[in-house]
Subunit: 185 residues, 2 copies
């Protein structure tokens, strides 16, 4: 049964980047995280990925997804304007550009083949999906830093009628991941 | 060796009360928390308590501290104006009203008799002590709710040169407490 999982990493004070938009300080244990059971499990369980246009553009060259992205599955990019040239694909990775998060979920569930759909960001896409009741699980990775400024993960969720039920806590180095089942009402 | 511990409970999005200043939604597991090993340990290890004027005033009648406050130890209240009549005391609880958080720490360490000094709030007092480098341990209890509005725990910490090292994670029902050693620089 496919579940839609939205995960983000934030500082203890709730920011997903610093005042200059950088995320490096949120990943002091990046190598440890990449090699962790948590990441192996995510890779194993993910059948399709959804990302926003900005997240898609965070690599210097989108052709590198096919070469070395950790999730070698179909990727759905939410954007009003698909790139002129489709990035490189391989037997596992192929790209689909869709203009709404809802449409991304619809197509990604079809492509995931029973495995999970993982929403890797950014916050706009994830928050829209939460607001639309389309997220089954929320994963918040907390890094023990105080950034003070930046983009707040939860700024878009004010007043949304969602409920969270904690299901799991996983520690990886200094990072703590909290997992929640998402309900409505 | 006395340590100064500042603990607060916040929503997943970082608020310590809701738009109306209420805290009830932050304690869905209040009874479980009161009966938890976490609370028993805090009571066992605490030799003195520091609180702000507003926290002190959250009980209807300050005489009830002597009758049934969980921490039966000397209490230091940070306020510019001590109440006209000192609240009831007993063999364990006695009240001292001081006009600065720093002075509260100085006196509380003396009174704690080798046990810990626990700063129970509010955020102003705790944040001032963090800023002054007087907190050894930070305990953040996270309740899985999204409040959207209210008082942000970390609003006063922007730009402070503190570092946090996670030392421990404790789950109590839906609540997750993260413990950090606090450093400077």
């Amino acid at each position: 049964m496919t579940r839609v999982i939205f995960g983000m990493t934030m500082s203890l004070d709730g920011f997903i980047n610093d005042a200059e938009g950088r995320i490096a300080r949120l990943y002091p244990d990046f190598d440890e995280l990449q090699a962790s059971e948590l990441m192996r499990e995510a890779i194993r369980d993910t059948g399709a990925v959804i990302m926003g246009r900005r997240t898609f553009g965070m690599v210097d060259d989108p052709d590198t997804y096919a070469d070395r992205y950790e999730f070698q599955v179909p990727i759905f990019v939410v954007t009003r304007q698909a790139p002129a040239r489709a990035p490189k694909e391989n037997g596992a990775i192929r790209f689909t550009f869709v203009d709404s998060p809802e449409e991304a979920v619809r197509q990604a569930i079809g492509a995931a083949n029973g495995r999970d759909v993982t929403v890797v960001g950014g916050p706009d896409v994830g928050m829209q999906l939460l607001g639309a009741g389309l997220v089954d699980e929320l994963q918040i990775g907390i890094t023990p830093i105080v950034l003070g400024k930046g983009t707040r993960l939860f700024d878009r969720l004010s007043g949304l009628p969602i409920t969270l039920r904690k299901t799991r806590v996983v520690e990886t180095g200094q990072r703590t991941d909290l997992f929640f089942d998402v309900g409505t009402g």
